[in-house]
Symmetry: C2
Subunit: 394 residues, 2 copies
């Protein structure tokens, strides 16, 4: 019943629902309650910045999914979801919003009971941002005869292999992040206030590229300079860029909620030897990692090859060097499933998309040169054509 131009065909949504039901069945679940906004959107098409209140999608083993949320957001659901039956969009009263006296999960329990689920085994996303400890406690208390199982990641894992339409959206987002990096190179110079540069990065990203509009990235631009770049997740202020400093730009292009993150590092002035060495080591290690990026290999193969090459050059990285990407909402543009790190034995498949993210945070600066990639039938494809190098403006 979407009145928007739907981003996907109903057939594609139904295929996703079927895939998810197989996983539910294998896990012995009669229903799931999905609160991750990315999962809600992937399953139903729902879009809107309404995840600051309790909401979710109920999926049982038959019939349409049910969107449930704040009454005023039911309007947004009517405009974006694929479901035909208006009864499958259910809003709760506004007095439940941020009101310590009454929790909306009590309402949800009534809806689940109405669907015959009061004694069911129901999957809930125990470790999702939008499923709080209080939400769970309220639901457990209100459904004493149901069994609530942890189904964190159950839907996320179904999202790993992308459809052709999803890959098309990822490619559009890739064009956008390329344009953002090009704009940075055009404008950055000593004396430029960091926030003025970020303003241009945002404007470029949202204007879009190749005729395709830019959506909001699930993480804001991170762009620390100099010593601040030893810390990976600082954002920006108005201190001007300086000669002799490196700045990394960890940014994403986004289109229809699909995220294509890519990082580059810009040095203003003459690059010190240590930074040149780090760049050479990272580029070699990226090449070694990418050689392992092919169907049939494991996620850890990329990390192990990357780390072995990096260590040989005398550098170390103790954090994961990549993760799955796709559709996402704040606060994370990752899919929260596969990580490129030792021990992750997930087998790579054609159609999976990752942010190969071999960032180095040194003791006196940061170096991020990263690649969003698509696993193809025979190997990999870098989604972006941004030159793979430390950018330098002297």
């Amino acid at each position: 019943m979407s009145t928007y131009d739907s981003n996907f065909t109903t057939a594609e949504y139904l295929e996703r629902v079927a895939r998810t039901r197989s996983a539910m069945d294998a896990a012995g679940l009669q229903a799931i309650f999905v609160t991750d906004p990315s999962n809600m959107s992937w399953l139903t098409g729902y879009d809107g910045w309404s995840f600051y209140v309790h909401q979710g999608v109920i999926l049982t083993l038959t019939g349409e999914p049910i969107w449930w949320g704040r009454a005023m957001d039911a309007q947004g659901a009517r405009r974006t979801v694929f479901m035909e039956n208006p009864d499958n969009i259910r809003g709760y009263d506004d007095t439940f919003v941020q009101n310590p006296e009454k929790h909306p999960m009590k309402e949800l329990a009534g809806l689940l009971a109405e669907h015959g689920l009061e004694r069911a085994t129901i999957g809930v996303e125990m470790d999702n941002y939008y499923y709080t400890a209080a939400a769970h406690a309220t639901l457990v208390a209100a459904l004493p005869h149901a069994v609530l199982h942890d189904a964190t990641g159950l839907v996320n894992w179904q999202r790993g292999v992308k459809s052709p339409q999803e890959i098309e959206y990822m490619r559009r987002a890739a064009r956008i992040v390329e344009a953002m990096h090009a704009r940075i190179l055009d404008l950055a110079e000593p004396g430029l206030r960091k926030n003025d540069l970020i303003a241009e990065i945002y404007a470029t990203g949202i204007k879009g590229a190749d005729g395709h509009w830019g959506d909001y990235p699930a993480i804001v631009p991170m762009a620390p300079s100099g010593l601040d770049a030893t810390a990976p997740h600082l954002t920006w202020d108005d201190r001007p860029m300086k000669k002799g400093e490196a700045t990394f730009f960890e940014i994403a292009g986004a289109h229809k909620r699909y995220q294509c993150p890519q990082s580059r590092t810009l040095f203003l002035g003459k690059v010190p030897q240590k930074f040149q060495d780090a760049e050479a080591a990272v580029l070699d290690a990226i090449a070694a990692g990418l050689e392992q990026a092919k169907p049939g290999n494991q996620a850890q193969d990329i990390a192990n090859a990357f780390n072995a090459t990096l260590n040989k050059a005398g550098f170390e990285k103790d954090s994961r060097c990549g993760y799955a990407i796709g559709i996402s909402y704040p606060p994370d543009w990752g899919e929260r499933t596969i990580s490129f790190r030792r021990g992750d034995t997930t087998v790579l498949q054609s159609g999976m998309t990752f942010h190969f993210m071999p960032a180095l945070w040194l003791d006196d600066g940061g170096l991020e040169i990263t690649e969003p990639i698509l696993i193809t039938d025979s190997g990999y494809e870098c989604l972006c054509k941004t030159p793979r190098e430390l950018s330098v403006k002297t």
Copy 2:
């Protein structure tokens, strides 16, 4: 030990800590574990987009707060928090990140035990986005002798009355949102792609105003047109603006994480009578609500006066018409404490700041004309000077 220019004096942080400890004491809590990024920042100065992994601040009844999070984010903590003792910044190993095999809350339990809290009564923010059901379950299991109490909102409530420095930051954010609305009026016209307008709104907001830089708002711009504006939380796409349509712009200026939201509605073309009537009703109702905005009155007094006037004019609004604002991080720019609605008997005090948000979502469009306000010693002050009217471009 902040190496940033600190946003507040250490004395101000210590005063906040003391205020929070009084509330802890009154609630019988020996410690709190705070995961709301706004509370973490307000208590310690911590800033960074790291809330997509588990992290928090531990506050006991004596000594400095303790920042706890991912090891790589400890670097960002070292650069932003006021605490002097390096032992009070504690990072956990990266293998705990988004790894279903091991949950970082187990590490946290060890840290709490190290501080003698294994049998303590500890407050946790049960209904915060960043305190998941799994986080709570893991902590409960790992601390079998501790008592975990719900302390949702305990810190948020301490934040209600703003300090002079906080009010200064809110005023700067107010200048920024004024500039954003002025830019919209300059640029909006039939045929302009919505995303191109949003790009300019972002750029204006982040460039800042009056020499003060713009930070990222805790919610992205919401700017639906026409029938889409019957749904409050849709964002944007590339459909062009059209003659005969209203678009509301629910946006915020932000400075040093302080948020000043304000909404305006723009009509392109000749305004239909119904919209004119709605505007007149809302403006009267706003005036009636604002008359009640003074120290000693209750939050509901504003809502009741607003609703009574609105209803007399034949319009209805069934959702709250305002909420407390201040420092914030995604996904919500509200403080999640006081709401302007019937039944909220919180007494207004000088120094409190609110978004008086009397939005009307009609069956064929939306009308948002809203005011961020400061409660003063004798009444209220509108933080913004944006003309209070339906904007029209013919």
